[in-house]
Subunit: 144 residues, 2 copies
């Protein structure tokens, strides 16, 4: 553990988040997500649910301000207009971190998998609720 850093950010997760650059993406994945088969770099947060993992990541990761949609969630199969419970919780966490209203991109299931395959890292959580997945796009840290 380190001073001022969420203890859920493991050494490997901190490493990945710090190594990401502008436009790189990280996926927070629920317990049913095919994380191990898709991920270029797999990080496990067994024990944490998706909002808890998201909160830890957002405590250090700047969201991209070059795009109106720095976060993407998975469309409910057959009912893309529905907003699943974890996504409602993600919305509050992302908007709090961004300090502004943020429109989530809603991505069809297999397109979400393809985008996750290209992501810098996938963080596998113990989230049991369906559609507990979110892709974040990293922004920049301005000069001091």
């Amino acid at each position: 553990m380190l001073k001022g850093i969420d203890p859920l950010l493991s050494p490997d997760l901190l490493h990945a988040l710090a190594a990401m650059g502008h436009g790189d993406e990280v996926v927070v994945a629920d317990a049913n997500f095919p994380a191990a088969s898709l991920a270029r770099r797999l990080l496990r947060l067994d024990g944490a649910d998706a909002p808890r993992a998201l909160r830890a990541i957002l405590s250090v990761l700047p969201l991209d301000t070059f795009t109106p949609t720095p976060a993407a969630v998975m469309a409910v199969v057959g009912a893309p207009e529905l907003v699943p419970e974890p996504v409602r919780e993600f919305q509050v966490l992302v908007e709090t971190a961004a300090g502004r209203a943020v429109q989530f991109e809603v991505v069809e299931r297999f397109a979400f998998y393809e985008r996750s395959r290209a992501a810098f890292a996938v963080v596998a959580t113990s989230e049991r609720r369906p559609y507990g997945n979110i892709i974040l796009t990293k922004g920049v840290i301005p000069p001091a």
Copy 2:
């Protein structure tokens, strides 16, 4: 880079500092120090001097409060009573981070090498001034 984290803390250095536990030690080494030959885990901060590296590390690393001397420096060969310029700068940085007066342990050159060999990591800096070396002992982060 990450929000609220000194940009000098590279992904590898952050990983090492986060992975260290209570009592583990990290060495900040000057440019003449035999870092590559001694280190169990070598991390390079070429470009930074030793006080700059120390300041970055102390921004996240808790110092050990179980010992009166959570920091050790190298004794000047033949004149152990001297306090080299980098050590005077270390003193200010360590005491500021600790929020209290801190007595440095002063360790004979070869004993300092042996202790560095056992350390969790050695951070090699571009510090050109002699005796720009310090060993820090990690403390604990209390429950929130």
